[in-house]
């Protein structure tokens, strides 16, 4: 800690930060534009000027930029000094010369950093009376809107997009007062994290184009703390609602998880909630016709179907813990099946076992960002766990930072630090069957079939620790690469291995674990991160469900005759014929879901369940972090949370214990009591009984307008706001005026800080944890070794013996290719692909061939090819994608049209 003086008052602040950051941490309102906690200081905008004094006798001082001035012992500054105050006002006045007076029609209005800073500096009267410079705007695609006239040239957009997110198609053009930020030509922004421009831009140049379709001011939104459901990472979000539809999602800061940024799938995938394909009333199948019914009628009907007692339940990795557990309770542990492909189920179990019994810890994204040597083994992270890719991209700065430190350049002095290291990057290795978007920061890439990728992993582990299994028949090149990777990981302070189930290859997962464990055995605090395909893959995985493949058996053997399917489209999980056979052999089929799917079409009874924004739920992320998503609004129609439908079925079936389940707290309590893996889950968020000064936390900002009038077309009397006995939040603008605990923050706002940057006021220190700790509770930790080099075993002691054995060498075939799955950030996820903006960016099905393979099969880019795989023949256009591993081709999975195809698999590709 260092002592500084601000306006004569002494403060103790941490070292290694700028004066601006220190002042903001201390709670001072000091305006800024070009600085951003994730981007550091460049001193471009001159907005954060303060007076610095030599010593206590110095009364003249000099103006300095607080963002460029390091904190140091005894530094004296003044924020209130008259000259600095007028300097800051003059800077704003200059910026405002060309800023349009269009706040009333600007989407940023009401949550605009420029508005806030303008008010803060007191520049309230415009003297400039001349014409302003104007620009032509660009169409940047369906996600981000562009309005260049509002630009104040802070350069944050290009610094974020290019330097932080690694994009190349956004740039500054021209010079002087005509500086233009955009693309060379109109077109979709290529980076998967472009949506963050909406929050990075301090004004309304980049705004959310999906919000524009149903615009609502921030203060008119009803919001709740939520968790993204579009992959396994579990980014924290704030979805906002008005008039019963979801309007947008913004980032909800969590220092350990998503920090300041989301991926575009997570930010813009929400519109599936507003889809016309939503199920809103229970539906009964009668004589081949679907008929809507009231809840009680449907429940009575469903109960009759369950009467025989021979019921199996199929859970879902996209349903909450509460819903899965309620189903498990309804059908019994023995009859609860995992609603995922069997191979995925097996791999999930394997990953959980490795993370819970092994030596290496699964890192948070915050820790991933700080890793200083990384091996990515068999994952295209940008497509399978997008937000993690953004963290990995930052990790390559860690080792070069040592040079920056040696030169005594503060790390936060961004351009000086970048200039010092030039293009130097820390050791980062990507091994994947095809090129990935992280290759540009990789020290080396390795392209091979899944088995050969695993062999590389085994070789790395062996190179680190010779007691790990050796890899026979390794080529010199691969052995040298393995040696290089091993060396880099061994020499690192915080090495990281990333892998996952995407290639459906157990050997890859074992190899990744072996590498991490070999490092741990060598005394390195190695981290091991597995991606998870869906938002609750690990939660479902911890419930010890039976594999889906056994469900058919259960029906055939007469063990069961009725199926209850929870929020799951089985047609995405298994081949059509198998699902058809499974569903046909059931006498009765009950489905709970929020969207119409091929599975709901077959159901005898459909219960409309609530997606993430319409009910509470707890999810376990790939890190092993249990996080609560709160209900944002009360949906119209007969929609209820899946666990509530299931509870009512339980009660109707005579299980009176379920009557005690009044809210998710009660369900989680039972869950925690019956399955030890979940014992910490109730701590993910405060219970429904939580109050501050006797009050709940308001979901609506206190300026929420029109409450008395917004339903006047229905009834002129203002309706009573809905009660929410299930959570400590209220559907109202009335509530506690202090800052709620971190897990309950519906939105960031602080007096004078209307933009998302108000998060400054909620953090213990700027860019650090939220006050009270970052939300979520880790439920997956490695077992502690009983002794330092302790014995291994699944009995609670950390195991250190190495797993598996390297697979045989992959042999490319002249007449066939190994078809591997290719994932798409836009398209491979089931729910977000039903959001119109995401759908626009979803590729059409294709088969990806290397140009060499294409030549061999006599095919050109765009030609139709016949792909014979898994006993079926598909006609797909060829996409020539260079850099694919030899003997390997790719098929995009999860896209509409290719929902289920078991990959990897050998395929024959021919010209039709």
């Amino acid at each position: 800690m260092t002592k500084i003086f601000v306006d004569g008052r002494p403060f103790d602040v941490p070292e290694n930060q700028s004066m601006l950051q220190a002042c903001l941490t201390l709670g001072f309102d000091l305006p800024y534009f070009c600085w951003h906690p994730a981007l550091g200081s460049v001193g471009a905008c001159r907005q954060c000027a303060v007076k610095q004094y030599r010593d206590e006798k110095d009364s003249r001082g000099r103006i300095v930029m607080s963002c460029m001035t390091p904190v140091a012992e005894g530094v004296r500054i003044s924020i209130r000094d008259a000259e600095s105050v007028s300097f800051r006002a003059a800077v704003i006045e200059g910026l405002m010369q060309s800023h349009p007076h269009d706040c009333p029609v600007c989407d940023e209005g009401g949550e605009c950093h420029l508005q806030d800073m303008t008010v803060m500096t007191g520049h309230a009267y415009r003297r400039y009376r001349f014409s302003k410079r104007t620009f032509r705007n660009q169409n940047l695609g369906p996600l981000v809107n562009h309005e260049m006239n509002r630009c104040i040239q802070c350069y944050r957009c290009v610094r974020y997009y290019r330097e932080y997110a690694g994009g190349h198609d956004l740039k500054e053009f021209v010079l002087r007062n005509l500086v233009y930020f955009g693309r060379q030509n109109d077109g979709v922004l290529e980076n998967e994290f472009a949506g963050n421009l909406v929050e990075i831009c301090p004004t309304g140049v980049f705004t959310d184009k999906t919000l524009k379709q149903h615009y609502t001011r921030k203060w008119d939104l009803q919001l709740a703390p939520s968790v993204c459901v579009h992959c396994g990472i579990g980014c924290n979000t704030s979805p906002g609602e008005r008039y019963g539809t979801l309007r947008r999602i913004v980032n909800r800061y969590n220092g350990e998880v998503n920090g300041y940024f989301l991926c575009d799938r997570g930010r813009f995938g929400y519109e599936f909630v507003n889809s016309p394909e939503r199920l809103r009333q229970p539906r009964l199948q009668k004589g081949g016709q679907g008929e809507t019914a009231d809840g009680p009628v449907a429940l009575v009907h469903a109960r009759k179907l369950l009467d025989g007692g021979k019921v199996i339940g199929i859970g879902s990795p996209r349903a909450s813990l509460e819903a899965n557990f309620a189903l498990r309770t309804l059908v019994g542990q023995e009859r609860f099946f995992a609603g995922v492909e069997d191979e995925e189920h097996r791999l999930t179990a394997r990953m959980l076992e490795i993370l819970r019994s092994g030596l290496a810890r699964s890192p948070s994204l915050g820790e991933i960002e700080k890793a200083d040597a990384v091996l990515v083994l068999g994952e295209d992270v940008t497509q399978t766990a997008p937000r993690m890719a953004l963290s990995l991209r930052q990790s390559v700065r860690q080792q070069p930072f040592e040079l920056v430190d040696k030169l005594q350049i503060p790390r936060w002095l961004d351009h000086a630090a970048r200039e010092a290291v030039q293009d130097a990057k820390g050791p980062f290795f990507v091994a994947a069957p095809h090129p990935t978007k992280l290759d540009d920061v990789a020290a080396a890439t390795y392209r091979a079939s899944p088995d050969d990728l695993a062999r590389l992993g085994f070789a790395v582990a062996h190179a680190i620790d010779s007691s790990a299994p050796d890899v026979p028949q390794l080529t010199d090149g691969v052995r040298a690469l393995a040696g290089r990777i091993a060396e880099a990981l061994k020499n690192a302070k915080r090495p990281l291995v990333v892998s996952g189930p995407s290639l459906k290859c157990e050997a890859l997962i074992q190899a990744a674990a072996n590498v991490a464990w070999a490092l741990c055995r060598a005394g390195k605090p190695a981290a091991l991160s597995f991606t998870a395909p869906e938002c609750n893959t690990l939660g479902l995985g911890l419930m010890a469900a039976r594999p889906l493949g056994e469900a058919q058996q259960a029906l055939k053997s007469g063990e069961a005759d009725t199926i209850v399917i929870l929020e799951n489209d089985l047609y995405r999980r298994a081949p059509r014929e198998q699902v058809d056979a499974l569903l046909a052999s059931a006498r009765h089929l009950i489905v709970l879901d929020y969207l119409e799917t091929s599975t709901t079409h077959k159901a005898e009874v459909v219960f409309p369940s609530a997606p993430f924004a319409e009910c509470e739920g707890t999810f376990i992320s790939n890190e092993g972090r249990a996080q609560r998503a709160f209900q944002v609004y009360v949906p119209e129609g007969g929609i209820r949370a899946a666990w509530q439908w299931l509870r009512d079925l339980l009660i109707a079936s005579g299980a009176n214990g379920a009557a005690a389940w009044q809210g998710v707290d009660d369900v989680l309590k039972t869950l925690a009591g019956s399955l030890p893996a979940f014992s910490a889950v109730p701590q993910a968020a405060p219970s429904a009984a939580f109050r501050m000064a006797g009050e709940k936390v308001a979901r609506e900002p206190h300026r929420y307008s029109g409450r008395t009038a917004m339903h006047a077309n229905i009834n002129v009397s203002e309706p009573k706001p809905p009660d929410d006995p299930e959570s400590p939040l209220s559907f109202s603008m009335e509530g506690v005026s202090e800052q709620p605990p971190p897990a309950l923050i519906p939105f960031f706002w602080s007096p004078g800080w209307n933009s998302i940057q108000s998060v400054n006021k909620f953090q213990q220190e700027i860019a650090g944890p939220l006050r009270g700790g970052d939300p979520g509770v880790r439920v997956i930790e490695p077992a502690k070794p009983t002794e330092p080099d302790g014995p291994a075993g699944p009995d609670g002691n950390a195991r250190a013996d190495f797993l598996g054995a390297p697979p045989a060498v992959f042999e490319p075939q002249p007449d066939r290719v190994l078809l591997v799955p290719i994932y798409h950030v836009f398209g491979s996820d089931e729910t977000s692909q039903r959001a119109p903006a995401i759908r626009e960016l979803t590729p059409k099905p294709y088969v990806a061939l290397d140009s060499e393979a294409a030549r061999r099969f006599g095919l050109n880019d765009g030609d139709l090819a016949e792909v014979a795989v898994n006993g079926a023949v598909e006609r797909l256009p060829v996409k020539v994608r260079d850099g694919m591993a030899a003997g390997v081709a790719g098929l995009p999975v999860g896209l509409p049209g290719i929902e289920n195809c078991r990959l990897p698999a050998w395929a024959r590709i021919t010209r039709p």
């Binding site: 190349h168 198609d169 956004l170 740039k171 500054e172 053009f173 021209v174 010079l175 233009y180 693309r183 060379q184 030509n185 293009d423």
Partner: protein, 154 residues
């Protein structure tokens, strides 16, 4: 498509710099010397050759006022409009030029002979007002001298 001479000349520059991107300005000067200006197509070709995005190359191109992103005439007149030349009669010079050529600042004559552009300081204030045509500086100008100067350029 870049001609093979252009490509070779650009590639020769690679040896002088640690990275390909650093050749960006030289590459555009090479292409502009042969073609007079940098078209969108040239921009793409240069970007491809240097491993940059077209946005990045245009960011550089549009920053420099001597890289032309629109076609220019056979000869480019740059007339200095900074303070010394302004004191010494820049405005009269400009009036003479625009009326003789029949174009406004920033335009090209219909016969493609001249493009007229402003420039800030040619470093010859002691001989103000000045203008530059192609690579030649014309000093101590006055409206009467303009015709004689222009005649030299066909």
């Amino acid at each position: 498509m870049l001609s093979s001479e252009e490509r070779e000349e650009i590639e020769r520059e690679f040896a002088h710099y640690p990275t390909k991107e650093a050749v960006c300005i030289d590459a555009m000067k090479i292409v502009q010397r042969r073609r007079g200006w940098i078209s969108d197509e040239s921009l793409q070709d240069i970007a491809g050759l240097l491993g940059m995005s077209v946005d990045e190359v245009d960011g550089v191109a549009s920053f420099y006022n001597l890289i032309f992103r629109k076609p220019v005439g056979r000869h480019v007149i740059m007339i200095c409009d900074s303070v010394s030349c302004w004191i010494m009669g820049y405005e009269k010079l400009r009036t003479q030029l625009t009326s003789r050529l029949g174009i406004k600042m920033g335009e090209t004559t219909p016969d493609g002979r001249f493009t007229l552009l402003p420039i800030v300081c040619l470093g010859a204030c002691d001989h103000a007002p000045v203008m530059m045509i192609d690579n030649e500086t014309h000093r101590d100008l006055d409206p009467e001298k303009i015709d004689a100067v222009l005649e030299k350029y066909t």
